[in-house]
Amino acid sequence: MTTTTTAPVVHALAFMNGDEFRIPVFTLLKRDGTPYKHAKLPDLDEAKALRIYRAMLFTRVLDERMLAAQRQGRLSFYMQCTGEEATIIGSAAALDDEDMIMAQYREQGALAYRGFGVDEFMNQLFGNELDLGKGRQMPVHYGSKDLHYMTISSPLATQIPQATGYAYGQKMSGLGHCTLTVFGEGAASEGDFHAALNMASVHQVPVIFLCRNNGYAISTPAHEQFSADGIAPRAFGYRMKVVRVDGNDILAVYQATREARSWAVENNRPVLIEAMTYRLAAHSSSDDPSGYRSRKEEEAWRDKDPVLRMRLWLEKQGWWSEEDEKREQETRRREVLEAMKRAEKRPPPPLESLVADVYDQVPPLLAEQFDKLKAHVRKYPESYPKGARSLNADSQGSGGGEHA
């Protein structure tokens, strides 16, 4: 075991600057979808490859449609995963489907891969009565217990130490599962990131830290976020295995995450992966990147489109065609639009959902506040159409027998 107590002793003063820690980028596929000369591609069968690609395509379609819906005023807010699909879906695909994913907010591709339905996406985005999160959070704050996907929290980096704790519990359960936590290079500046890595290493936890280094934290470029060589070298400070991958090369991400997973689960140890990618989208629908980066820079990254790279590889495998692409795009667009129409029409969650889940049961003072609110909404139903609607439905359902 290496500790400072066993360090060799020297008598000539020498500062180290860490330049020996230059970390290369692991990549397998060229932009045209052909492998590099000595690249050894992961063992990926057709069914799995197509499951991955369909999730990528769906995510692209969903993001395009929903940003358009936001622009039309149908949706309050949206965040796109565009440009980062390979990082997100490639890593999710390398896990066991029962491994936990604890993401930041831009990782809808992982949920799509796991099979979150188009209606489930839409119900969350529109915060209606079928939203699994009961209409309480802003759009894109998905969660699915069935799909082992922790509900998103807006505050940055909070999920990273939680992932360490979750994975420690998984180790204790002994079922061979691990946790993948995803975060941006900006979030890695938070204290929570450092606490998470240190504890994972000290307590020997099977957790994979996936940093999607997409170049920007809202407007702040990575070079104003840190002055070191990215996030990867930080692993050494915690004595943790690390790999840096081309985040736009899905086969590289898949391969790296797969090996990281095996190693983490077999040895009960954490791994850090830094995926080099680019946030082609704005930070969110409220953001306009033209104020802080150039079109030219964006175009250069558009040329490295991860979805196109995967498609070109699939075509070379003979697993995908122009026709498949057209059909899939059309089908998915139609599905998204139809689901959006359904979700928009659904009523909001019932008024009771306001006070449920604060605790396991509604405490007396809150129950009193809620009774008062109900009476108030009944008095001014036209001013609270959402709340009044469910109260009306309620009193009809119970034959008007409810006490105010």
């Binding site: 802003m138 979030a187 500046s189 702040t220 959402k386």
Partner: protein, 325 residues
């Protein structure tokens, strides 16, 4: 006088403070070339250089820890926390450090130059984490001043007052009003006093007390009450700590009734502190119990935000109830 919205008034105040004193330094997430996600710091980097207006890494405890050190050294940091909902990683630096710096060192050191600006409040479909009003957490910490402006004119004068106050000040900006609230703002340098409430409208029957974005809601409720012949005296508290007890007491001695309203939840909200103090000082003059119209004791919701909010109708009902007690 030029017309400004609240963001322009805040930007103008920062500009004036930086021009007047080279020790004033503005920083936070995205505040540099981008000018902040709400553009409150627009053009400051251009004008004063990267050394005095800059982006920080994304780390709130770092921002405030850095600001504390900078203030202790004698500079005047104006640190931005992008949303009040994200201030909590810095809670330790604010509550245990900024608030106690002077006291623990026997006034050898202080961080009186520190101002923390942060947008707060709901009504923007922001859900749990872009809507909170956390003023009461900080009001519970001696050593901090807490200020909340209601309009552009107030924002500029109070922010300049906060920056120049020799104590650490938390300046909560009502983000719902950033662009929605406009009005005439004096062009030059002026300060409004901290620790002083303002009677916005005189009245005889009932005192209505609020701050920040809740002021316009209170005024709307008072208009409804006015139509029913009830005359409300409306007070903007402006500074939560130290709060202007005398102005409120004087008003309540006149009206005999008090309603306090804020967006934050009822339990532990600052209205409770006000109610306790006022009943102590005005007990024999009260005609009805002091009422609180606040958010529910729940996290801030999204779809049912309207139902959650202490809006003008809820205040109006409370006014009528107080009058007929």
């Amino acid at each position: 006088m030029p017309n400004m919205n609240m963001l322009q008034a805040i930007n103008n105040a920062l500009d004036i403070a930086m021009a007047a004193d080279e020790k004033v330094i503005c920083f936070g997430e995205d505040v540099g070339i981008f000018g902040g996600v709400f553009r409150a710091t627009s053009h400051l980097q251009e004008k004063y250089g990267r050394a005095r207006c800059f982006n920080t890494p994304l780390v709130e405890q770092g921002i405030i820890g850095f600001a504390n050190g900078l203030a202790a050294q004698g500079s005047t940091p104006v640190a931005e926390i992008q949303f009040a909902d994200y201030i909590f990683p810095a809670f330790d630096q604010i509550v245990n450090e900024a608030a106690k710096f002077r006291y623990r060192s026997g006034d050898l050191f202080n961080v009186g130059g520190l101002t923390i600006r942060t947008p707060y409040g709901g009504g923007i479909s922001g859900g749990l984490y872009h809507s909170q009003s956390p003023e009461a957490y900080f009001a519970h910490t001696p050593g901090l001043k807490v200020v909340v402006p209601r309009n552009p004119h107030q924002a500029k004068g109070l922010l300049l007052g906060a920056i120049r106050d020799p104590n650490p000040v938390l300046f909560f900006e009502p983000k719902r009003l950033y662009r929605a609230s406009t009005g005439e703002v004096p062009e030059g340098d002026y300060q409004l006093p901290l620790g002083q409430a303002e009677i916005v409208k005189e009245g005889n029957d009932l005192t209505l007390l609020a701050w920040g974005a809740q002021m316009e809601i209170a005024e709307k409720a008072a208009d409804l009450a006015g139509k029913e012949g009830i005359s409300c005296e409306i007070i903007d508290l402006r500074t939560i700590v130290p709060w202007d007890i005398d102005t409120v007491v004087e008003s309540v001695l006149k009206t005999g009734r008090l309603i306090v309203t804020h967006e934050a939840p009822l339990t532990g909200g600052f209205a409770g502190e006000i109610a306790a103090t006022i009943q102590e000082r005005c007990f024999l003059y009260l005609e009805s119990p002091i009422a609180r119209v606040t958010g529910l004791d729940t996290p801030f919701p999204l779809t049912l935000e309207k139902e959650y909010m202490p809006d003008h109708l809820k205040i109006f009902e409370a006014i009528k109830q107080s009058m007929t007690f």
